[in-house]
């Protein structure tokens, strides 16, 4: 079942031109290190045994955010049939970190890939009423057609990559 959902997620990401890799916790750091281009900003990942690669700035200034080529953050969950990732606006700074760089690398646990928007809003509804889960459902890169043709990288990232950690 989980595999099906992950496959649907991957298919949706392919339609959005979002590259995706599957890995396990042990391999995650190497996969991330391989896929990022400096300068890199990031927020420490909440998955046991998974660290950010060397050289990631985890307490960036606003200027560093704007200058970053890559940003790595975990996301709360993903929505398989749309290829969306749920970015939490927490005090750790996932929201601004994921917003300014050219490429956002979103790291999600396979067990947090939900099948559809129904499941997503069930989860969100509870979380929001329980506390204050500020969440951005992000689907693909930022885009605009206001300048006469479709352009990615309007105010947010030009590209998104996803990394799915399968044993978490």
């Amino acid at each position: 079942m989980e595999t099906d959902v992950t496959e649907t997620f991957e298919a949706s990401l392919r339609r959005l031109d979002v590259a995706v890799e599957r890995t396990d916790a042990a391999g995650a750091e190497a996969v991330l290190a391989d896929r990022v281009e400096a300068p890199v900003v990031g927020v420490p990942l909440p998955f046991d045994g998974v660290s950010l690669p060397e050289g990631v700035e985890t307490a960036p200034t606003p200027a560093q955010l704007e200058a970053a080529t890559t940003a790595i953050t975990a996301v709360d969950f993903a929505v398989a049939d749309y290829g969306s990732v749920a970015i939490r606006a927490s005090p750790a700074g996932e929201e601004p970190t994921s917003l300014y760089a050219d490429v956002h690398v979103a790291v999600v646990a396979a067990s947090d890939v939900l099948p559809d928007m129904g499941a997503a809003f069930d989860r969100l509804g509870e979380a929001v009423r329980d506390g204050d889960a500020d969440t951005v459902l992000a689907t693909g890169p930022s885009a605009t057609a206001d300048m006469g043709a479709l352009v990615t990288g309007a105010h947010g990232p030009k590209a998104v990559r996803a990394v799915v950690i399968e044993d978490r």
Partner: protein, 756 residues
């Protein structure tokens, strides 16, 4: 920012003729300057929408759910406002319920002043456009910057939005490049869309960095949690909220839904309905003040979790006429609008001239009439309310199922009633036996009383036709009633279809089925041949036809906003048909817009049982023929063919899903059918006859002309099921269109189906 671009063409004229000419001139100007960009963009959005919703089953279920949520939310609005207030205050935010624009602006100015803000950045919000917030802040010396790139272009150009979702839809890339060069004198040449986007991102990036207050709208507000949902593709709303410590969200009270889970259908529908995206890039569900660390502490301060609680949030809930709309039986539906722009993008007239023709003070497109009547008043709604032709193409496209043509008819009716009483009344009372106020515009009255005119013209034919074709008479008709002299007028027949049938009688004995054939005014008095063909087609399938005297359906007065007259017609029609319904006879309707009256509009005019009875027993001619063939009627009596036809279905037939029957019947009889996919032919009943709209009507028609003169359709026989579509195609093409009934008419000589 929302400068009135209309100012230079505003007219305050003495006569209808002058104002018609001014309106026509303004439409020609918009067709020439903005038409191409608007057409390209709306058609792209519209095609995208049709593709995105192709998975029909779930789409319909989502629409139904969305509609239910909105109905419930508006019904319980006062309670929801209170719950929202409690939830936002519990979260540490403030709520202000503003009565009107001035009240809202006063509050916003105080918040901005308290924050000591010199710069405010905004994420696109039609509600703040409605309030003219930017002007209010400008007056305080505050720099306000729009961060949505389309809205930014308009701010730089000092223009008003022309579209709800893509405000600068009327601008071309070249025009934007020229504007940026003129205004910013950039170091590099800005040519491509990517160049322009990069430049605007960098320029606005600096404004966002400087800003102390971020202002957004809210696509939705949830009463259970005090959350707001923001839908964008560019990421500008995210930056507006994240990069500033003070967040002001401005939302109409109608944006509230009960719970977070209620967002689901809207999140899935709004992008599909608007631009044809499956989902917009970003849907932020925020419960402000948000928890992100502050970015507003200077360039050298790294992000720190401790700064997350320095944020401040104000939710300004705007009434500005909405409570009154909620209490208005007809305008209430407007409050269900989620501002996705599907109505605008699917509107044939909007596709040609865009929102600067359609708009009132703020809103544009089909739903604009309801919004403008509610928030700015009837004068704002009056301008270009007539651009809604009632074609109903928007009805199925609206994700919350608002009957936009009905709202337009109601507003038109109220405008009619507000008019100067007494004008023309003394001359025309005989000609216009309607239920309307005396001051009603003569042009509307003539079209609204088309049946009376047709009766008179038929009784005096051929003299009436000669008179109508006489140059000075046409000039007078144009001057007094605004009927464009370039349109060929229908030629009325001395012998009507009913007369013909009364003389001829039924040729079917021993029939299994009996039907009432309902000819529209045009078929009865003008295009008699298509009625005769319909009789022969039905008889060939073993059906006995009756043709009792039944009045006009009320379509003509309804389209002029003459609701009382349409209502009275509905009663007369039902009375005339009741015996036949009792006898178990079906009603077969030739003109699709009449069937749309019976199936859709009569719900407003007849008691429920009567409406249901008539609606259930009524069929469009080809729908009925299809049903007979499915029930094993023998098609051998019909004229089969191996011809190629190009078929244009009437807009209202397509809204009711009827076009497929004509195609299916023609194909079954061996015809090779290509169907048009443009929204409308541009004629839409009386619309194309009106002098002020003649040019627009032809421009809309040009999309149909292009389809029917392309490779693969150029040599086909043109077939159209609507009377006015036929008139328009006749003007657009060198080939005379045929009604599908005349194509399969058993009495048609081989190779000819010339007459409509």
């Amino acid at each position: 920012m929302s400068a009135d671009v209309d100012a230079d063409t505003d007219t305050d004229t003495d006569t209808d003729t002058d104002s018609r000419e001014a309106k026509a001139a303004r439409i020609r100007h918009l067709l020439a300057t903005e038409g191409d960009a608007v057409e390209r963009n709306t058609l792209t959005f519209n095609r995208g929408r049709y593709d995105a919703v192709a998975d029909l089953e779930e789409y319909e279920a989502l629409k139904t759910r969305a509609r239910e949520i909105k109905e419930h939310a508006i019904a319980t609005l006062p309670e929801l406002i209170e719950s929202t207030r409690e939830a936002v205050e519990d979260n540490g935010g403030a709520v202000y319920l503003a009565d009107d624009a001035a009240d809202a602006n006063r509050y916003v100015r105080e918040v901005v002043a308290d924050a000591g803000a010199e710069t405010v950045v905004k994420s696109k919000s039609m509600t703040t456009e409605e309030l003219d917030v930017n002007e209010a802040l400008d007056a305080d010396g505050v720099d306000v910057w729009e961060t949505d790139l389309g809205e930014f272009v308009l701010q730089v150009a000092d223009e008003a939005p022309s579209h709800i979702v893509a405000p600068a839809i009327h601008k071309s890339r070249e025009g934007i490049a020229e504007l940026f060069h003129e205004r910013f004198d950039p170091d590099e040449d800005l040519e491509t869309a990517a160049d322009l986007t990069r430049f605007a991102r960098a320029f606005l990036g600096e404004r966002i960095r400087e800003a102390d207050v971020g202002m957004t709208g809210a696509n939705f507000v949830t009463a259970d949690s005090g959350s707001i949902a923001l839908v964008t593709s560019e990421g500008n709303a995210r930056k507006t909220v994240t990069a500033t410590d003070v967040h002001v969200a401005v939302a109409g009270v109608e944006k509230i839904v009960p719970a977070v889970e209620d967002l689901r259908p809207f999140v899935e529908l709004i992008g599909k309905s608007g631009t044809g995206q499956d989902i917009t890039s970003y849907v932020s569900v925020l419960t402000p003040p948000v928890d992100s660390p502050s970015l507003d502490r200077g360039d050298d301060d790294p992000l720190s979790p401790e700064t997350a609680d320095e944020r401040e949030f104000h939710l300004v809930l705007v009434d500005n006429g909405r409570t009154a709309m909620r209490e208005d039986e007809h305008l209430k539906e407007t409050l269900y609008c989620i501002r996705c722009s599907a109505c605008a993008n699917s509107c044939a007239n909007f596709q040609s001239v865009g929102g600067h023709a359609f708009g009132g003070e703020t809103y544009s497109g089909g739903i604009a009439t309801g919004w403008e009547a509610g928030v700015h008043g009837y004068d704002a709604a009056a301008e270009f309310n007539d651009l809604c032709t009632g074609c109903t193409r928007c009805v199925n496209q609206c994700p919350v199922k608002i009957d936009i043509p009905w709202i337009n008819a109601v507003v038109r009716d109220r405008l009619n009633r507000g008019d100067d009483p007494g004008r023309f009344a003394f001359v025309y009372d005989e000609l216009v036996p309607d239920e309307e106020p005396a001051g009603l515009d003569l042009q509307k009255r003539l079209f609204g009383n088309y049946e009376t005119l047709a009766k008179l013209a038929s009784a005096t034919a051929p003299l009436s036709n000669r008179l109508a074709g006489w140059g000075p008479a046409r000039a007078l008709l144009e001057r007094v009633a605004g009927i464009d002299a370039r349109r060929r007028l229908p030629e009325f027949r001395r012998e009507t279809l009913r007369d013909w049938y009364a003389d001829r009688g039924s040729r079917v004995s021993d029939a299994d089925r009996e039907v009432v054939l309902y000819p529209d005014v045009y078929t009865n008095y003008v295009a008699v041949e298509r009625g005769q063909a319909a009789v022969r087609v039905l008889e060939a399938l073993g059906v006995r036809v009756r043709m009792p005297a039944v009045p006009e359906s009320g379509r003509a007065p309804l389209s002029q906003g003459m609701i009382a007259t349409a209502d009275a017609k509905a009663d007369e029609v039902y009375a005339a048909l009741a015996d036949h319904l009792d006898a178990g006879r079906d009603v077969v309707v030739i003109e699709p817009s009449d069937l749309a009256m019976f199936r859709r509009d009569y719900e407003r005019f007849l008691p429920d049982p009567a409406f249901e009875r008539l609606a259930d027993a009524s069929y469009e001619l080809f729908e009925y023929v299809y049903g007979l063939l499915e029930a094993d009627a023998d098609p051998d009596g019909l004229r089969a063919g191996d011809e190629a036809v190009a078929y244009h279905a009437h807009c209202q037939a397509r809204t009711l899903g009827l076009d497929a029957y004509t195609t299916a019947v023609l194909e079954r009889l061996g015809y090779d059918v290509v169907e048009s996919d443009v929204e409308c032919c541009g004629m839409a009943g009386s619309f194309g006859y009106k002098a002020e709209y003649y040019d627009l009507s032809l421009d809309v028609g040009d999309r149909l002309r292009a389809q029917f003169t392309s490779d693969g359709t150029r040599d086909r026989r043109v077939v159209a099921s609507g009377a006015s579509c036929g008139d328009q195609l006749d003007d657009l093409l060198a080939r005379e269109p045929a009604h599908p009934a005349t194509v399969i008419d058993p009495a048609r000589p081989a190779g000819r189906a010339d007459r409509r």
